[in-house]
């Protein structure tokens, strides 16, 4: 059961709308290495895990990723305010806009709707936990790419926070892997 707290884990205050950047950052929400996938992966894997510590970390990281989903959506929401049709077209955001307007829709930057094929949930615990470690690295690399593509300091400040969280999650999943290996599940 989830409780919602009416605040973002990290504040989002984007002074300058930017259609092109919105089209890139949407991938951190609905792309293959985005926050929606991350939360679904961990929250689904936890059910059949054999150790309470591993269930705990998957539950709590999965829940935090829902909060990150909200942060990314907030960035996209603020980047797409008050855009003119000319700005939408110039930013290459027209293909997204025609189907969604400036609403938030989980897809990749390339326009692929969120696909659960990007996640794995396997009863084999070593398979799942290795998937989780790889996922955190892929997400960290995705945020590195966003930092290469963005000149906006308001956006980059938030992205750096999200990136750092992936690094911490990777640590915790490494510990979960040791737990699973030790008990030879």
């Amino acid at each position: 059961m989830w409780i919602y707290e009416k605040k973002l884990q990290y504040p989002v205050k984007i002074a300058t709308p930017n259609a092109r950047l919105a089209g890139v950052i949407i991938t951190a929400l609905g792309g293959p290495d985005g926050e929606l996938g991350a939360s679904m992966r961990y929250l689904n894997q936890r059910y059949t895990m054999p150790d309470g510590r591993v269930i705990g970390i998957l539950t709590d990281v999965g829940s935090e990723e829902l909060g990150h989903m909200e942060i990314v959506a907030s960035i996209v929401y603020q980047l797409t305010r008050n855009l003119t049709p000319a700005e939408i077209k110039a930013g290459g955001f027209d293909k997204y806009y025609v189907d969604h307007g400036a609403a938030v829709y989980p897809s990749s930057a390339a326009g692929v709707p969120f696909n659960a094929m990007a996640i794995a949930s396997k009863e084999d615990t070593l398979a799942s936990i290795h998937e989780d470690l790889a996922a955190e690295q892929k997400a960290r690399a995705m945020y590195d790419n966003i930092l290469r593509l963005s000149d906006d300091p308001d956006v980059n400040d938030v992205i750096k926070f999200l990136r750092q969280r992936e690094v911490v999650h990777f640590q915790r999943f490494g510990e979960a892997m040791e737990i699973l290996k030790d008990k030879k599940f």
Binding site: I3, P11, K13, R163
Partner: protein
Amino acid sequence: MNKTRNGNQPADETPRISGCPGTMGGTNGGAELLERIRALSFVKVELELYLDTHPECTIALEHYEKCIDELGMLMEKYQSAYGPLVAAGGDNSKGWAWTKQPWPWHYNGAADRDGGRGV
């Protein structure tokens, strides 16, 4: 701007959780209290993750207990003055308070919510 290359970005300094003149909390001191709550909530989550894989760590547990005590106090102070952060936390004597304040992603506060965002 970093050049495109393989490998990790250089280590960034830990991002500050800076005071943000957000739309929540209004302009009479609520914003600063909200930032303290935000920072402490972050510590809470960080400790929860750590304790999940280190349940016997008494030092982390001590920090955690102190954290949630202070957080509880700050939440009560904020919610009584500025509005609910959880659905049950509001003063509903003048109607359901949960839906009245701006939501966390709004840029212009109430103006956003009332259709002032525009595209």
